[in-house]
């Protein structure tokens, strides 16, 4: 099995035929990224107001990864993620209403208010869920890819996880099986430099996560996320490999989260200076500047009011929706009669 490699992050050739096309695609990307950013900001506010409970892990700062990656997919392709799953859910096409309603614990949420922030599922968009056990979902994603190969349905599965998951057995076993059985899957490690409060240097003996691919003879790629087009192009390459030759790829996407690990995290483990430095590379802000520079200022204004409206509606929807009723508890535990 040949292990292809790319570790530079130089700009790829423009995607799409013309600068215009590229600009309109950027508008689309920007809209999704903004929708995620705003959804997360509203979630944070709602959490502070006690309208959302439990753990809340925000995706702010990492939007370009999910948006760029999902742009490389067909609607019938699958995604599987972690507890930090709001961005992925929206990038895969889920309605913000379903997402916020779920965070608010409402029956109109994608998981009927039973799953919550960490467990967003949507069969209609092939979002196979956010999972709370680090590494536990990676073998599961390999199984989804196994099913695609078994059925020859030509679908590809993307599996997202943080760099903290790379040390756990689930990652290793899933990679071992995917490489051995040549499954059509792309493993995307979102390396945001921290596993909760622990920096990379204290969780891993190697800084380059993509090196792990060599252990499986798996194709790999590594990029420092600065540009959503770059993410799309690199993931598209791996997706094409999965779809055409049914070979897995491990992609390390170096990124950064602007908020704490979860709402309860004071974030003492990093300096404000470090955080500010990274915020300068905010892909959302950069996309916005690029749009203005590209002369899309007007469209941009429309888009932003539009997004605001969508968010407002979603928040209202979440607030006004009814809660799930007790009868759901047993009927969702088993398909068919309850077993006790």
């Amino acid at each position: 099995m040949v292990a292809t490699t790319k570790t530079s992050s130089k700009k790829p050739e423009p995607v799409g035929p013309s600068p215009e096309a590229r600009l309109s695609r950027l508008l689309g990307f920007y809209r999704q990224m903004l929708l995620i950013r705003r959804c997360e900001e509203e979630s944070a506010r709602a959490y502070a107001q006690g309208k959302i409970g439990g753990f809340l892990h925000l995706y702010i700062g990492q939007e370009a990864v999910a948006v760029g990656a999902c742009a490389a997919l067909r609607p019938d392709d699958y995604v599987v993620g972690t507890y930090r799953d709001h961005g992925l859910a929206i990038a895969k096409g889920m309605n913000v209403k379903q997402v916020l309603a779920e965070l608010f614990g409402k029956v109109t949420g994608c998981s009927k208010g039973l799953g919550g922030s960490m467990h967003l599922f949507d069969a209609a968009h092939n979002m196979l869920g956010g999972y709370g056990i680090v590494g536990g979902h990676i073998p599961l994603a390999a199984g989804v890819a196994f099913a695609s190969k078994y059925r020859q349905d030509g679908r590809v599965t993307l599996c997202f996880f943080g760099e903290g998951a790379v040390s756990i057995g689930g990652f290793h076993e899933a990679c071992s099986l995917a490489a051995l059985w040549k499954l059509p899957i792309v493993f995307i490690c979102e390396n945001n430099e921290y596993s909760m409060g622990t920096p990379l240097s204290r969780t891993m003996s190697v800084e380059d996560v993509s090196l792990k691919a060599g252990a499986y003879g798996m194709a790999k790629d590594r990029l420092f996320v600065r540009d959503v087009f770059d993410v799309e192009a690199r993931v598209a390459e791996a997706v094409a490999r999965a779809r055409s030759t049914s070979e897995p790829t491990l992609i390390e996407a170096r990124t950064y989260r602007f908020r704490g690990h979860s709402m309860s995290d004071p974030g003492k483990y990093r300096t404000p200076a470090e955080l500010e430095e990274h915020k300068k590379n905010d892909t959302l802000a950069q996309a916005r500047s690029a749009l203005i520079a590209g002369g899309a200022g007007e469209k941009l204004a429309e888009l932003e009011t539009d997004v605001e409206r969508e968010i407002e509606e979603a928040v209202r929807f979440a607030e006004e929706s009814p809660e799930p009723t007790p009868d759901l508890l047993e009927s969702t535990t088993y398909a068919g009669p309850f077993a006790r």
Binding site: G109, G129, Y131, G136, P139, L140, G143, G169, T333, A339
Partner: protein
């Protein structure tokens, strides 16, 4: 009806269901080319090919999780662990994913998967290879647990399991694999879950058992018959759902109960049955409910000590007599 071995009954169940449904496949260590560590899948690779009879590397958490993911999107995997002991490294996959996905997805995704393997003690396989794992899994809502004691039930329950839309864990026994019994050939022969079988009718004491201990209980009943003690032996067949009605009806008749099964004394299936009986048949009981189980120690290798630690007919005989205040 032809008489076949327990292991062949399991193979018939898998084979018939794989013929019936393209989505069903078998995956586990040595299930294919090696013909199964305990020969349960002998010949299946030749019949179905490597796509549907898949040899897995040693990565139980990995391939258990893989099976769960495949099931979420519509396949119907049968995952064989070489023994249930090795499922301990996949415990989280079964606890947190197989049992939870349906509810935490708001009912959007189901996990129609079967995990199966031999369970409990074998002959001197020692401390790490003799666990009665059903006691851990039976606690978990979202799972169904079966423990066939006869070839017919092995076939009928496993077929029902493969057609069930929920995760089902099938607890077999190495010491039962060679046992013969009559097994129906009807490809739609199914044994429903939650319906215990009265393996022996009796009026004096109810003995509740499952898996291979049913046979030990029947031995004990035969011995007790000579002493004019008429024991009713209930073979549970499935542990979740548990057929409480049959147990209670029997106790209402005998007024005495003994629970016999492999597994440590603390908690587990045995304690659950005791709890249900005392709660639902409190006024019927004429004596404390007795339990006969594995001694509260890891399994020793030495043959005599192993036999001492495992539940035996003699222990059931004593327990029955205690419940009759005849000890």
């Amino acid at each position: 009806m032809p008489s076949i071995r327990y292991r062949e009954a399991l193979k018939q169940a898998m084979t018939e269901e794989m013929i019936r449904d393209e989505r069903v496949f078998l995956l586990g260590e040595e299930v294919g080319y090696y013909q199964g560590a305990y020969k349960v899948s002998e010949g299946m690779l030749d019949k179905f090919g490597p796509k549907r009879v898949v040899d897995a590397p040693i990565a139980e958490a990995g391939f258990a999780g893989l099976g769960i993911g495949a099931a979420m999107v519509g396949l119907r995997p049968i995952i064989e662990f070489m023994t249930w002991n090795f499922s301990a490294v996949a415990f989280d996959q079964i606890l947190c994913n197989a049992a939870k996905i349906r509810q935490m997805s708001g009912g959007q995704f189901t996990v129609p998967i079967v995990f199966r393997a031999p369970n409990g003690s074998a002959a001197q396989v020692g401390s790490q290879h003799s666990h009665a794992m059903e006691h851990f899994y039976a606690q978990i809502p979202g799972l169904k647990i079966i423990a066939p004691a006869t070839p017919a039930d092995a076939k009928g329950l496993l077929k029902t399991a493969i057609r069930d839309d929920n995760p089902v864990l099938c607890f077999e026994s190495e010491t039962l694999y060679s046992v013969k019994g009559e097994v129906p050939e009807d490809p739609d022969f199914l044994v429903p879950f939650g319906q215990a079988n009265i393996a022996r009718h009796g009026k004096d004491v109810t003995v509740v058992a499952w898996s291979r201990i049913v046979n030990v209980a029947l031995d004990a009943a035969a011995k007790l018959e000579k002493e004019d003690i008429d024991v009713e032996v209930i073979d549970l067949r499935s542990l979740r759902p548990l057929d409480t009605d049959t147990i209670i009806a029997s106790v209402a008749k005998t007024h005495r109960a003994v629970i016999a099964g492999e597994g440590w004394p603390y908690g587990g299936v045995g304690a659950e049955i005791v709890d249900r009986i005392q709660r639902l048949a409190f006024d019927e009981l004429d004596a404390p409910i007795e339990r006969v189980q594995t001694m509260d120690v890891p399994m020793p290798y030495n043959a005599k000590l192993e036999q001492l630690v495992i539940p035996q007919a003699a222990g059931i005989v004593e327990a029955v007599k205690r419940s009759l205040y005849r000890a």
